[in-house]
Amino acid sequence: MKERKGLIIGSVILLIIFIGMLIKGEPSKSILVWIAALLTLFIYSFLYRDNIFYKFAEHLFVGVSVGYGISVYWQNAFIRKVFDPLFITKTYIVDGQFHLWPLLAIVIPTLMGLLMLSIFTKKQAWLIRIPIAFVVGMSAGISVPSTFQAYIFEHTKNTLYITLSISSFIMIVGVITTLVYFFFSKEHKGLLGKTANIGIWFIMIAFGASFGYTVMARISLLIGRMNFLLYDWLGVIK
């Protein structure tokens, strides 16, 4: 309970600092900047606890972003990829001649898309599997060769440039032991277990390093927001 009192006092101090700056500084005259600033503060209030301000901001965020998504899909998919080629530019008519394939290239995916709506029926709901299978199967097909290139070839190639140095030795040991850690079909006992253990150490080094490395970038995000609040909104700093 005592601790909570301290926290409340702390939050009040922060609030007073902001109000003080609001009086002292030259706040922005743009209502849009005010909206952005208030929403920023609403979201920060979540750090203390869930409250009505955060709830408002969260629900607004969801609503606005879905509305934005609808607009973008409407424009980029329905208008540009279906409506325009079908009714306006008529890509399937070239020099007054009718071509079947360009028409099918619009109609087939549209029909497949419409099958998505079969979920609203009781009996034909299984039809939804067709567009899903298309998206999943095709995505899987695209990913197979490019995964080989990007994940396996690229990294193997870079590991294979070996020089006689401790660094190079550490590199190859690290890669091999990490790979060994991911062996699934053998129990991690004896030599395999020991190697896999070294692999875990390497993994932990990597996790620690990327954690420490990311801190700076995350803090600079907060600095960016602070700059917005103090400079663009309150105008207390020049």
């Binding site: 298309f134 990490t178 080094i205 620690g208 801190v215 803090i219 927001r225």
Partner: protein, 231 residues
């Protein structure tokens, strides 16, 4: 029937897309482009399902007066307003209506469309603020988790500590007098370039194999989890 058709479709399109990768011919290139367009169109229709799911949940909340139902109005209203503004007023390019309004009422819109104004002053600041919460969370996670409980935890803690220290000017000052190899920023760079890179490569190679296996199992119809069980 209910399984055969989808599995065949997944198989055919999967194999065709793999083959396509090896053919630089324009026919194959155009086909690839068409497939990507198809995917966009199909996903656009799925968006209808998604939005209807969201709307139904919030309408249900309002109807059943579940806790916090008042906020569902916020979502529903802001969704409708933004969508109407975007569809009628234009997304990135203003439609004729917007142009007329701008001229008639002498508006000053820096972002060209009303939708982009909403995007710039509501969605972007809120997104950036959510993103910046990470500054707080990364601190509390470090405080809580980086404790020398056992050997692996010590390794994690020490590397994070050293790398973090090496990123601020004070870290450099501490080791300024040492030989160059032992200076903190050089040690940090070495950690990043060798042991860290080694583990990352190991993980990524494993991930690559896992992804390949999963993708191939889907194409070959061995893995059908994504279709749901049953017939």
């Amino acid at each position: 029937m209910r399984r055969k058709i989808p599995l065949t479709i997944a198989f055919v399109f999967g194999i065709v897309m793999i083959i396509q990768f090896f053919i630089p011919h324009p026919v194959s290139r155009d086909f690839y482009q068409t497939m990507l367009d198809w995917r966009i169109i199909v996903i656009a229709f799925t968006y209808i399902l998604a939005v209807s799911s969201l709307i139904r949940i919030h309408i249900n909340k309002v109807r059943r007066k579940k806790t916090g139902w008042g906020f569902s109005y916020v979502t529903l209203i802001s969704l409708t307003v933004t969508a109407v503004v975007g569809v009628i007023g234009g997304c990135f390019q203003p439609t004729q209506i917007t142009t007329w309004l701008i001229e008639h009422f002498n508006w000053q819109i820096e972002q060209r469309t009303v939708l982009m104004v909403i995007f710039t002053y509501i969605q972007i600041p809120m997104g950036a603020t959510m993103f910046s919460l990470l500054a707080f969370f990364i601190a509390s996670a470090a405080f809580r988790a980086f404790k020398a409980r056992n050997l692996t935890a010590i390794i994690l803690l020490l590397t994070a500590f050293v790398v973090m220290l090496g990123r601020v000017p004070i870290g450099e000052l501490i080791t300024k007098r040492l030989p160059e190899v032992l200076q903190l920023q050089n040690i940090v760079e070495w950690i990043l370039n060798y042991p860290n890179m080694a583990a990352q490569r190991g993980i990524l190679m494993g991930v690559g194999l896992g992804m390949m296996a999963t993708a191939l199992k889907i194409i070959l119809g061995i893995e059908r989890g994504y279709l749901g069980g049953g017939d």
